[in-house]
């Protein structure tokens, strides 16, 4: 059941062939006699050093499962390891973690559509396959307005019924800064690159920000499975054609675009986007950004091997967006034509991917470095991209294991007022240099803010850490809205996680109210819906989840053993005389 053991099982598969044959017979015999065995599951989660919340929830879940007669093993690991096991290797039973969820409802297609079930990456991590859900997820992207909202709501309803992920809480992100620091942050959220672009500073000085993370190599690959703080940094280095605020998309690297409906097969609405790039835009190495870089980027996202391998090797991020694109064509140096299999309202979502320089990435379609026993993947996905060449408002200056230093890009379009949204958002006095310091422990943020080494920090804090921070008169904290949520993910490729009833009972073993109060110190909103953070253009989508579907099996955080066991019996499970939950096989 636990990941490393099954991995060794793969290694020893040749030697185990004969053993397997006899094992099959034994299973059949056991089945005929109605024999069952006690169920045990492992719970994969980040270690508390990287995430102050998930491991606490995971440990409570383990205790609750044991109360209900399920043997539960807690497996803490590093954040990068956690996501590698879940997203790339698919070697887990249950995990507790934070899911980044983009605000457009089309993200649900990426997370739950069966076409992505076999792909490694953020696309469909649980391996859920449901034809009815597929149909809804496919349909919403061809719709607009009220109809799309209704379809999305139906999809959320179906997802809630299937429960591949049991949503728990939407956290608030935290920013801490010195009270005497005259930094003017705007309201874009801690993990939004726009919050740095719009940051006003006295005399454009250097700003040092503490972020959570073990010290080590910086993964600056926009296509890699990177930790969440690095995503923000990578967004400063790589521009997208369009950026999002709430439900709106704004031209960014694109000066603008025109959307035309384009009939499409089977009466599905499709669109053609004609995109014009900004004049004179350049990469950080000085070469001009051309339309063919944009066309190349979409081809790379679809297949990072660029046709050199079978099967193709799509990216582990942006899969929902790249799969919307039917074809891409560089019309001239500054014009791109994008045919998108989505309605004109949904289609521009495809513009929110980082644009990559062709002259650097076209040689990265070869097999990447092997991490121990992982699937071979292309270098485009595994590279740490140590010397990133992007087109973003900040460029890479230098780094060591403890910090990463960026500086303003003099040639960037924000430097001479571009007008429009970009002109409004870019603060002329934003920092000349941005320094990100990797903090191995969260209490370091408090100490280093106190002694003035840090100007700000964006590390999440447990209630105890938060109280210690608040006790310091020199430091102030700001909560900002977060994208994504904490939840329990199930591996639907493994029994008994395949059983929707089993998953539903587990979802009911967590007291969401109690967790938001005690684990997050009330800096999180309990939820039962993966749609809790979605935003749609019409502003009508309000799907907060139906708490009656996941009522807690206990009170005030403590699971009621009798009720939990009753719930498992109700969905068809039995208990041994010793009180262990039994499964066939």
């Amino acid at each position: 059941m636990d990941a490393p053991r099954s991995r060794r099982a793969v290694l020893g598969s040749a030697a185990g062939a004969t053993a397997m044959a006899s094992g099959c017979l034994a299973d059949l015999n056991a089945f005929a006699r109605g024999q069952r065995r006690p169920v045990s599951v492992s719970i994969l989660t980040a270690a508390p050093d990287t995430d102050p919340f998930a491991p606490v929830i995971a440990r409570r879940l383990a205790t609750a499962l044991e109360t209900a007669g399920v043997r539960a093993t807690l497996l803490p690991t590093s954040e990068s390891n956690l996501w590698r096991e879940v997203l790339v290797n698919g070697k887990f039973d249950i995990y507790v973690g934070r899911h980044p969820i983009d605000p457009d409802p089309d993200v649900l297609r990426e997370l739950f559509h069966s076409r992505f079930a076999e792909e490694p990456g953020w696309q469909n991590p649980t391996g859920v396959t449901d034809p009815a859900l597929d149909e809804l997820l496919d349909r919403q992207r061809h719709e607009t307005g009220r109809r799309r909202v209704e379809t999305t709501a139906a999809a959320l309803d179906r997802i809630s019924e299937l429960g591949p992920i049991a949503p728990l809480c939407v956290p608030y992100d935290l920013r801490m800064q010195r009270v005497d620091d005259r930094l003017e942050w705007s309201d874009y959220g801690v993990r939004n690159a726009l919050s740095y672009v719009s940051l006003g500073t006295p005399d454009r000085r250097q700003v040092t920000v503490g972020i959570a993370g073990e010290q080590g190599d910086w993964n600056l690959n926009p296509l890699g499975v990177v930790e969440r703080d690095l995503r923000t940094i990578v967004d400063l280095l790589y521009d997208r054609l369009a950026v999002r605020t709430g439900g709106d998309l704004h031209p960014w690297l694109a000066a603008g675009w025109e959307t035309e409906p384009d009939g499409g097969a089977d009466g599905d609405a499709e669109s053609v986007l004609t995109i014009s790039l900004r004049d004179g835009a350049t990469w950080h190495d000085g070469s001009p950004i051309r339309a063919r870089d944009v066309a190349f980027t979409y081809r790379l996202l679809e297949d990072t091997a660029l046709g050199s391998s079978r099967p193709p090797a799509p990216t582990v991020r942006y899969r929902g967006r790249s799969s919307l694109v039917r074809s891409v064509e560089a019309v001239d140096d500054v014009t791109v034509r994008l045919a998108v299999a989505a309605s004109p309202t949904v289609a521009p979502v495809a513009l929110t991917v980082p644009i990559l320089p062709r002259h650097i990435w076209r040689s990265r379609g070869t097999r990447g470095r092997f991490t121990v026993l992982d699937d071979p993947v292309t270098e485009a996905i595994t590279t740490l991209n140590e010397t990133p060449v992007g087109s973003g408002p900040y460029r890479h200056l230098e780094d060591d294991r403890t910090r990463l230093l960026l500086s303003r890009t003099p040639e960037h379009f924000l430097e001479d007022d571009p007008g429009g949204f970009a002109g409004e958002v870019g603060a002329p006095d934003r920092p000349e240099r941005l320094e990100f310091a990797a903090l191995a422990s969260r209490d370091m943020a408090r100490e280093f803010l106190r002694n003035g080494e840090l100007d700000a920090a964006t590390v999440p804090m447990s209630p105890a850490e938060f109280e210690r921070m608040r006790a310091d008169a020199l430091v102030e904290t700001v909560d900002t809205r977060a994208l994504g949520l904490y939840g329990i993910g199930f591996n639907l490729r493994r029994y008994p996680m395949t059983d929707a009833g089993f998953r539903r009972v587990i979802s009911r073993l967590v007291d969401r109210e109690h967790v938001s109060r005690t684990v997050f110190g009330r800096r999180a909103r309990p939820t039962t819906s993966v749609g809790a953070t979605l935003v749609d253009g019409t502003g009508r989508l309000r799907w907060r989840g139906d708490t009656t579907r996941h009522p807690f099996l206990g009170s005030d955080g403590d699971v009621d053993a009798a009720r939990a066991r009753e719930a498992f019996r109700d969905v068809g499970f039995a208990y041994s005389e010793q009180g262990h939950l039994l499964v066939r096989r």
Binding site: R59, T73, T77, A440, M444, F448
Partner: protein, 268 residues
């Protein structure tokens, strides 16, 4: 230089200053002022006689430096996660230990965990230069190398998180909540998944065993070192860094290491 590197250098200088002063005070007390003068001429000879053992320790340390970074990945692929099993055996023992927490005790044990530990590790190499023969130095070298060697193998084979990373909410990360900057120092050597066995325990117990083994020559050495060893051992648990099982395994590893050192040199 980043501010964290600058702070790390300052911390290192501070630790070595403390250890230097402590060694300078200990030496005359343990060896005796006259013996110290008498035997200072033989220091070069002692060093020469134990070059092999010293090279062994340095070799293992250098190897360790290269192997350590790949240990977590190797361990995740091939190792056995045992944190859950350890928890099932000893439960919340470490949380009980932390029940005795007092600010002064935390300060002392943090000092023991960092400063006294480094002192205990270095002092045999200085002290045994003044021994009657080269054997204590050689035993020390072999015992240290064995500690590190077996330790690293255990770190690959066993994936074990310390109690502060497992009993979240029950066990406090006392060292790092009280002295956040210390993390700059400890992260140079410690990896979260390498809790079993406790090398802090095994190495400081190794020094205590060596001190007992050489008590005829240096009767005052155990008096100095045993309280330090006990402090370091208690500190590993009190600070939430190690389980009681890690500590027990540390004692066993120390015993094995010193036995190997003594056996090996007896044959010569």
């Amino acid at each position: 230089m980043s501010f964290q590197t600058r702070l790390l250098v300052a911390l290192l200088l501070e630790v070595f200053a403390v250890v230097g002063v402590a060694t300078a005070l200990t030496l005359p007390m343990v060896v005796g002022a006259s013996a110290l003068r008498e035997r200072s001429r033989q220091v070069r000879q002692r060093l020469h006689d134990s070059l092999g053992a010293i090279a062994l320790v340095l070799g293992v340390l250098v190897l360790n430096r290269f192997v350590r970074p790949i240990v977590p990945e190797l361990s995740w692929a091939f190792g056995i996660p045992i944190t859950d099993a350890i928890f099932r055996v000893e439960g919340s023992f470490v949380a009980w230990v932390q029940g005795f927490a007092r600010p002064w005790l935390t300060s002392y044990l943090a000092f023991a965990y960092v400063h006294l530990y480094v002192f205990a590790l270095l002092v045999p190499f200085v002290l045994y230069l003044f021994a009657e023969d080269a054997r204590p130095l050689r035993v020390t070298g072999i015992a240290y190398a064995t500690n590190y060697g077996i330790g690293v193998i255990c770190y690959v084979v066993f994936i074990a998180y310390g109690p502060r990373n497992y009993l979240v909410g029950e066990v406090d990360s006392l060292l790092y909540t009280t002295y956040p900057s210390i993390r700059l120092l400890t992260q140079q050597a410690n990896v979260n998944t390498n809790a079993f066995p406790s090398l802090h325990t095994s190495l400081s117990v190794t020094v205590a065993l060596l001190a007992l083994w050489t008590r005829r020559q240096f009767p005052r050495f155990p008096i100095v070192i045993v309280p330090i060893t006990l402090s370091v051992v208690v500190a590993t648990m009190y600070l939430g860094l190690h389980w009681a099982m890690d500590v027990l395994a540390g004692f066993a590893l120390a015993g094995v290491s010193v036995a190997i050192g003594v056996r090996w040199t007896a044959r010569e």
